[in-house]
Point group: D2
Chain length 291, copies 4
């Protein structure tokens, strides 16, 4: 008995592609991890084993390499060129999705000057650019960052919360708050300067995290960060955060006859809280949370 094929897609993940651009002695190093996904009518491949309309995932990789030959000025522009090509190459395709994680590298300082061709990993997390495009339609491009670790040793409280018989957490007006921010944002259109936003938005986020010293919760700081991003970046219409609460728990030193006035903490890996929230301009419909 044959059962119908439901929602499906396929693609290539983990395409690790780097480019070097040269402006005289000054080199720029671009370090990408690319994921390509195609949706369309692939029923024959699944049901009958007929591959006639299947573009191999290896070809998706080759396409990325070939289209990088003349350099990658902007990641968003590169995703547009790859998507355009995939619609041409694969007539069965209805939708292309490309996600590019860019690992930042910054110039090594030598004797106080940035070196022209030597690099170390940048701070501030990877940038994440996602293009989603239906055939014969405009692409939607979101920007984002991930892996932005932040920590403050004061200026954070958690109290006044709901209590029940399974509550043992002590209230505190002064705790360590630590998180690793993942943020995704939408813009007024695909033609904004995604590269500039990828640099500027994390600066806003990070400074707001630092300044927000009356934090009552991760939720509270999240909303402040989102508001600051919308305030300072007119091209951004919504921003979504995923912020784990990476607990640093005060160690009880009383069994050793010692007090612990917020000096010694144990760093916990698990469990961890996870806070997700979206901040949007009035009238903007942000996307739902991922499933």
């Amino acid at each position: 008995m044959t059962f119908p094929l439901g929602p499906n897609r396929y693609g290539k993940s983990g395409i690790r592609l780097a480019t070097v651009a040269r402006d005289g002695d000054q080199h720029t190093f671009t370090d990408l991890d690319i994921q390509v996904e195609l949706e369309g009518d692939f029923t024959a491949a699944h049901v009958e084993g007929d591959n006639a309309s299947v573009l191999p995932t290896d070809t998706m990789r080759g396409t990325c390499f070939a289209l990088a030959r003349d350099g990658i000025d902007s990641v968003a522009g590169f995703t547009r060129r790859v998507a355009e090509r995939l619609f041409v190459a694969s007539p069965a395709v209805d939708r292309v999705r490309i996600r590019v994680i860019a690992h930042p590298w910054e110039r090594i300082e030598v004797d106080g000057s940035p070196h022209p061709h030597s690099f170390r990993p940048g701070t501030g997390g990877d940038t994440v650019t996602t293009l989603t495009q239906d055939r014969d339609a405009e692409p939607a491009i979101t920007g984002g960052v991930r892996g932005v670790r932040l920590l403050k040793t004061t200026g954070s409280a958690f109290s006044g919360y709901l209590q029940d018989e399974y509550t043992t957490l002590p209230e505190t007006r002064d705790r360590i708050m630590a998180t690793t921010v993942e943020a995704t944002w939408g813009t007024t259109g695909p033609d904004v300067d995604h590269r500039a936003l990828g640099i500027a938005v994390p600066v806003t986020m990070t400074a707001t995290f630092a300044r927000h010293d009356d934090s009552e919760s991760v939720q509270h700081t999240l909303h402040a960060m989102g508001g600051a991003v919308l305030d300072e970046h007119a091209d951004i219409t919504w921003i979504r955060f995923r912020m784990p609460n990476e607990h640093h728990n005060l160690v009880d030193l009383s069994p050793y006859g010692l007090d612990n006035p917020n000096v010694v903490f144990v760093v916990a890996d698990r469990p961890f809280g996870v806070i997700e929230g979206t901040v949007a301009r009035d009238g903007v419909e942000p996307p739902p949370l991922p499933g």
Copy 2:
């Protein structure tokens, strides 16, 4: 300026909880990794820093521990009890989502007999149970597995595919196919025997993978596996797979003056193909692919 809060949720991840059940000398060890997520009206917490309606994520953990006190007969039943409790404890909550990964352990064989209280990790991957429940509604529960690694050294081909100028992959009628299956399935209702399905469905999947020796692609095998599951398990209405194509590439030994008649392969980590597909009974509307 204050911007409105959009879609949001929060919860606890990485709750590592184990239980021991004793039937005379026979012990049963249950090893869970639990994630709890709540949605509801948490605007005051985000916008004003008012935590009055926030159930701490630490309490979610405490709730899981307390409700495990009398044992965990079935993971699906446990998720129902936790969800019920969270709706009571937290009036602001509209929706509860609980995902439980169960790590399998099986009895060590000693002198040909299973040992009553000594265990080693089971084969066949973790089981994944997800409950999603809206307040005053019935829960939806999906079953699943992840981490089911499978490999066959013949009986797999990939040829007849679309070719363009970026295609370099050679066609083959005999290759290694390897994957690590992640599968999620829906059932006729929440009261089916999820525990039994968690054991039986992987057996069907695995046997079908082994038997399907005229495989033209991962897609083709995926559809065969889905069909077999629906054929053999009347309680299942749809099944979705995520199956990476873990490439084992034939090594070109010709530079060394040697042939390579399908003997020596290099195992690649990246890049990897990813195939996702759903198989559903006629008239069933399976969920969309995750975003």
Copy 3:
């Protein structure tokens, strides 16, 4: 100013090589992760940038691929052939060290029979074979396993230990003991049947772990396991274990008004105890612990 070169070596890690052997319809799949290290006189390369005596690490990989062309009957034999070749290829080399991790795969059962060419990961951990050979000398080959996870829900105690003012751990006569065994063993000579030992020794270890129900500590069980291996395997002269103590801590449910009679445990990732110990036959000098 030039400073002298001290101890040095170089090589290739992460050579992922798989082979398929065919005996009629019955296939055997061998899945290796190979590390090659060379020591010798490489002063000119370090100090002067003169590569004349440097065999590229890429060639070490090519050598492994080429020598696998006719199959890998035994991993120990394969390491001997590769070492022999490297001494010939690279006159500057004084010492070769090759470590091979073999990932086990076992046949999928279909309708009660093992399938001839379909596999899933085996239980019982990876095997680790290490050859160390000086030029013009016999190789020393050690066997081993790693990743052997074991857990028992009773039959383990920890009490009567040293107490001081920093001790808060409660004594217990009944706890969960869990570990992931790494074991390395030496033999009476390089020509013993390393493949057979790689299968048989973990069986002995695992059964002893299960049976040792008067365990007073991880140390105590470690020594019992080592003794059993030496008792049952005459070719083995010493065995060294590294056994983390993977803590499963009893959850204190008293804040919730509940007792916890060894039912609910929290699984801790960190910190973890680590116990290392060697058991050797009388008169045998086992190697020191790794630095």
Copy 4:
């Protein structure tokens, strides 16, 4: 039959301890991952299950927490205090080894000024401090770093190497060189300023990597880095490096009818070269490579 106990040790790994020091508004955040290992006469514990001389690993953790109560001025000093205490607490102990990985955090810049209590991860890798001390002897303390990722897009060659029939690597006078440095160093005595060296040595290493533009190999750059460290830091007597060669391979675009003048590279995870080397002052006996 009872077999003698050979080399053994035990301890606690993964003690995640953080401290906050306050100088008015200026906070300093210290983030440590501590491993403690003890050697001594623990035969009774292994052979007879007699724990009377066993200090629990949980107590080692408690000792670290208690001794951190008054702050951690220097990691080297902290390891000395912990070691001293462990010799007192545990009479059976002959040797203490403590390894501390410190994760660096640096102040977030807000409006051009470093924030007093908000931090992000520092660049330049973790520092690693290891104390080894025998009872009634002076401690030996080594400093180190790990995770120092460095990359240069030119100024690196690899040619003139040994060729044989398994060599396929093309020679190049211009390649990308990338590595993640792990370095360990010894000093003239335990009382040098380990904290200052932990900051200054990576600066020397990194600048030398950048400047060394006539690199003929990783070995060549390694030796240059070691020489620069010894030149600039009189307290250091030897330094050992482990430097993987993280390959960035030029993509062959000729199948697509394109050239590739050092523009597009594929980033490989595996296999990778590994180069280890020591540079020492004349007359200094550096330690052997780890086993």
